[in-house]
C-alpha cells in the first residue's frame, strides 16, 4: 500500500510541476516517493531487468544515453529514459512514476538509464539491470570522488556474472571489469586525424591488473586510446567488435561494421559515444547499425558542451569543461589547437562551488598538455575568474607563454571580460568558463551589447 501512496504522490507532484514549468523539478517527485516508500523503485511490478541498460562512467554518459534513446525511438521502440540527466535514484524514480499506470505497471520495450557512477550501488539495489555500458573511469570531481579507484570500487560492488557489459576497449580501467562480467562486448575508435600523443613527462596510468606502467600508442581522447602493459600483457584489442572507422572530418561521416553514418558532432569525444551507442543498440536491443544509421541524420544532443556566440564582428566559441576533469579540458585544448587561425583564448577556470566548502582548485590543468595550443597562433590569453586567475596564468607560463602575453583578471566581471575581448585584433575568440559566467555573457550580448 505504501508503494501506491508513493506512486500517486509522485504523479501529483509531477503534474503540479508540469503546470508551473516543464523544465523544473526532475528529481522532486521521485525524492518524495522514496521518502514514503524507500523501496519505491524496487516495487514497480513488471520490469524485465534484461531490458534495462545502465549507462555510467565519468564522461560521455549523457550523450550516449541521449543517442541510444534517439536511435531506439527512431526505430519505433517504446523506451523509458532519463534524458534530462536526472541520474540518481530519485531521478529514475521520477521517470518511472511518470511513465507507469496508476497501479505501477510499465509497458515499454527498453529502459535506458544514465546512472551516476558514484551512486550506482544504490540504484542497482532497487533496479538490478542486467546490462551496463561503462564509458570510462577518469579523474573527475575529486572533491567528491577522490580518485578513480574510489569509483572503480563502487562499480565493482554491482558488477556480477549475470551482467552483460559494454566496455570501452581503449580505456584500461573500465575494460578491466571484463574479469567479473558474464559477457563483455567491446567498442572503440580507430586512429583519426585528431588522435594525439603526449610528451614522456605526462603521466599515463597504472595497469589496473599488475600496477606497472601502462603505455598508450596514441590517444583518441585524453587517457583513452590503444594501450598495453609490457609487464603483464594486459592490452586493448586491436579491432574490437564495434569500432568507429573511416572518420572523415570534411564529409562529417564515419563507418561502423562497414555502415556509413553521418557524424552530427565531429568532436573526438563523441566518437566513443557513437560506437558505444551502436553496440548497445545491436547487442541489447537488436537494432543493427544499418537500422541505426538513419537516426544519425537528425540527432541533436541535449546539453552539449560546445556553443557559438556572435559578438560584434567576433565569433566566440564556447567550450564547457567539467570541473576538476583534466580529460574534458584536454579535449577543449585540442579543439583550440586544431584551429590554425589567429585566435584569442579566454580561460576562466573557476572556483569549485558545487557544495560547501567552495575551493580554489585548478591543479588538474597540470595534467593537460597546453603545448599544441601555444604553438597554434594565439594572439593573446586572458586568464580570468576570481581566486584562480593567477594559477591559470602560471600554468601557461610553465608551458612557455610570456607573462606579457597574458592578461590576468582576478574577477568574473562580464563587462571587463568583453572589454578584453574587444581589444583583440582577431575575431576568432575561444572561451572556457563555467556555465554561469557563460550564461551571463550570453545575456549581455542578447541585451543589445552587439
Amino acid at each position: 500500500m505504501k508503494f501506491y501512496f508513493a506512486l500517486w504522490l509522485a504523479k501529483i507532484i509531477g503534474a503540479a510541476i508540469n503546470l508551473v514549468s516543464r523544465d523544473r523539478g526532475t528529481n522532486l517527485p521521485g525524492e518524495k516517493a522514496l521518502v514514503v516508500d524507500p523501496n519505491f523503485v524496487k516495487n514497480f511490478k513488471n520490469i524485465d531487468y534484461s531490458k534495462v541498460v545502465f549507462i555510467t562512467g565519468t564522461n560521455g554518459k549523457s550523450s550516449t544515453t541521449n543517442l541510444v534513446a534517439h536511435i531506439l525511438k527512431e526505430n519505433g521502440k517504446k523506451i523509458i529514459s532519463n534524458l534530462e540527466g536526472a541520474n540518481l535514484l530519485s531521478g529514475i524514480a521520477t521517470i518511472l512514476a511518470k511513465e507507469s499506470t496508476l497501479t505501477g505497471k510499465l509497458k515499454v520495450d527498453y529502459y535506458i538509464f544514465e546512472t551516476d557512477e558514484r551512486y550506482l550501488p544504490l540504484v542497482y539495489e532497487q533496479l538490478p539491470a542486467e546490462n551496463m555500458l561503462i564509458t570510462n573511469l577518469q579523474k573527475d570531481q575529486v572533491q567528491r570522488n577522490g580518485d578513480p579507484d574510489f569509483i572503480y570500487r563502487k562499480l565493482k560492488e554491482v558488477i556480477n556474472p549475470q551482467m552483460t557489459l559494454i566496455l570501452n576497449n581503449e580505456e584500461p580501467r573500465s575494460r578491466s571489469f571484463e574479469e567479473i562480467a558474464g559477457r563483455s562486448v567491446y567498442y572503440g575508435v580507430q586512429h583519426h586525424d585528431e588522435s594525439f600523443t603526449k610528451g614522456s613527462d605526462y603521466p599515463t596510468q597504472a595497469c589496473p591488473k599488475c600496477h606497472h606502467d601502462l603505455s598508450f600508442d596514441y590517444y583518441n581522447v585524453d587517457s583513452i586510446g590503444p594501450f598495453y602493459c609490457a609487464h603483464c600483457g594486459y592490452a586493448s584489442e586491436k579491432t574490437p567488435e564495434y569500432v568507429v572507422t573511416d572518420i572523415n572530418f570534411t564529409e562529417k561521416t564515419f563507418r561502423l561494421k562497414g555502415v556509413k553514418c553521418n557524424m552530427p558532432y565531429d568532436l573526438p569525444f563523441m566518437f566513443y559515444n557513437y560506437a558505444g551507442a551502436l553496440a548497445i543498440c545491436q547487442e541489447i536491443c537488436d537494432i543493427s547499425p544499418e537500422q541505426a544509421a538513419q537516426a544519425f541524420n537528425n540527432f541533436k544532443n541535449i546539453g552539449g558542451r560546445f556553443e557559438v556566440l556572435k559578438y560584434k564582428a567576433k565569433t566566440i566559441k564556447y567550450m564547457r569543461i567539467k570541473q576538476e576533469n583534466p580529460d574534458t579540458l584536454q579535449s577543449a585544448l585540442n579543439i583550440m589547437a586544431s584551429d590554425q587561425e589567429e585566435k584569442m583564448v579566454a580561460l576562466g577556470l573557476y572556483t569549485l562551488v558545487d557544495f560547501v566548502p567552495h575551493y580554489a582548485n585548478t591543479f588538474y590543468a597540470f595534467d593537460c598538455d597546453f603545448k599544441p595550443l601555444i604553438d597554434s597562433k594565439v594572439e593573446r590569453y586572458l586568464c580570468f575568474s576570481e581566486h584562480v586567475s593567477y594559477d591559470t596564468a602560471n600554468r601557461l607560463i610553465y608551458e612557455g607563454v610570456a607573462k606579457a602575453d597574458i592578461t590576468i583578471m582576478d574577477s568574473d566581471n562580464i563587462k571587463e571580460i568583453f572589454a578584453e575581448i574587444d581589444k583583440a585584433k582577431t575575431n576568432n575568440i575561444y572561451l572556457i568558463t563555467w556555465i554561469s559566467t557563460f550564461e551571463k555573457m550570453k545575456k549581455f550580448i542578447e541585451g543589445g551589447q552587439n
Partner: protein, 254 residues
C-alpha cells in the same frame, strides 16, 4: 663542482592524481634559473637500478591505495638508503603517499598494509572524501613561510610523536581535529598539500633548491625569484578562505 641536479620522480604513472607533475616543472625551472642542468629520472616498478642516494631531491606524488602494496614491495629493499637520504636531502611526499612511508595503512575494509616505516605515522582510510583549500605556516631549511594549496583527504594521518610539517591557519590538515598539517622527518616533507605545491609556493621551492646547493657545496644562489604572481595568487585564495562557508572545526578551537 657538479652543475647537474638529479631529481628522482617516484612512480609518475602508477601515482598520478592531481596535476602533481607541476612540482617537477617547478623544481626544474628553479634549477635552470640558477644555471644548473636538471636531470629528471622517472622511477617505476620496472626500474632495475634504483638508489635514493643517487639523487639530490626525490618527489613522490599521491597515488591510489590499491597500488600501495606493489610500491612498498619495490621500495622496501631501499629503506635504509631512504633513512640516510632524508637526514640531509630534501624529499617531498604528498597526499595519500604519506602512508607508503609511514608505519601502517589501515583500510576501511579492515585490511592493513604495512608501510616502509620511515616515519612513525599511521594512516586510516576514510569512508568519505574531503576536499578543501589548505593554508598553513611551516618552516623549512631554517625559514618560516606560508603555504597555500588544496587537499583531497582520502585518509587521516595520525603522526603520533612525529613533528608536524606545518601549523594550520585553515583547512582539514591531518585529521580535521588538530592544528597539524603533515609531518617532517629529517629533510623530508610529508604533506597533504596536493597538486602543484611547488608552483604555487615558489618560496618553498627556493628553500629546497638552497638546501640542494648546500648539500652539493655549491654557492647558494642569491638572486631572488620574482614571486609577485604567486604572492597575488596566495592573497586572492586567502581572501576566498576568509569569506567562505566552512563546516570544519575552526583551527582555534582544535
Amino acid at each position: 663542482m657538479d652543475k647537474t641536479l638529479k631529481i628522482g620522480w617516484l612512480f609518475p604513472n602508477t601515482f598520478s592524481l592531481h596535476g602533481d607533475r607541476g612540482n617537477i616543472l617547478a623544481i626544474r625551472a628553479e634549477g635552470v634559473r640558477r644555471g644548473y642542468r636538471v636531470e629528471i629520472d622517472q622511477i617505476n616498478l620496472d626500474t632495475k637500478e634504483f638508489n635514493p642516494l643517487d639523487y639530490d631531491f626525490i618527489f613522490c606524488p599521491p597515488g591510489e591505495i590499491v597500488h600501495f602494496e606493489a610500491v612498498i614491495a619495490f621500495l622496501k629493499p631501499h629503506r635504509e638508503a631512504f633513512i640516510t637520504f632524508i637526514e640531509n636531502h630534501p624529499m617531498l611526499v604528498t597526499g595519500t603517499s604519506i602512508g607508503v612511508f609511514g608505519k601502517k595503512i589501515n583500510r576501511n575494509d579492515k585490511t592493513i598494509i604495512n608501510g616502509l616505516g620511515l616515519i612513525g605515522l599511521e594512516v586510516n582510510e576514510n569512508h568519505a572524501v574531503y576536499g578543501d583549500d589548505l593554508y598553513y605556516i611551516c618552516e623549512y631549511n631554517g625559514n618560516k613561510m606560508e603555504i597555500i594549496g588544496n587537499q583531497i583527504q582520502m585518509m587521516d594521518a595520525d603522526i603520533n610523536e612525529e613533528s608536524p610539517f606545518g601549523y594550520l591557519k585553515y583547512g582539514y590538515g591531518n585529521t580535521g581535529k588538530t592544528k597539524f598539517e603533515g609531518a617532517k622527518s629529517g629533510k623530508a616533507i610529508f604533506t597533504n598539500t596536493l597538486g602543484p605545491l611547488l608552483v604555487c609556493n615558489p618560496w618553498l621551492t627556493e628553500e629546497i633548491m638552497n638546501l640542494i646547493e648546500t648539500n652539493k657545496e655549491l654557492p647558494v644562489w642569491e638572486e631572488k625569484r620574482d614571486n609577485s604572481l604567486e604572492v597575488n595568487s596566495l592573497k586572492t585564495k586567502v581572501a576566498l578562505i576568509e569569506k567562505k562557508e566552512s563546516r570544519l572545526i575552526s583551527v582555534d578551537e582544535r
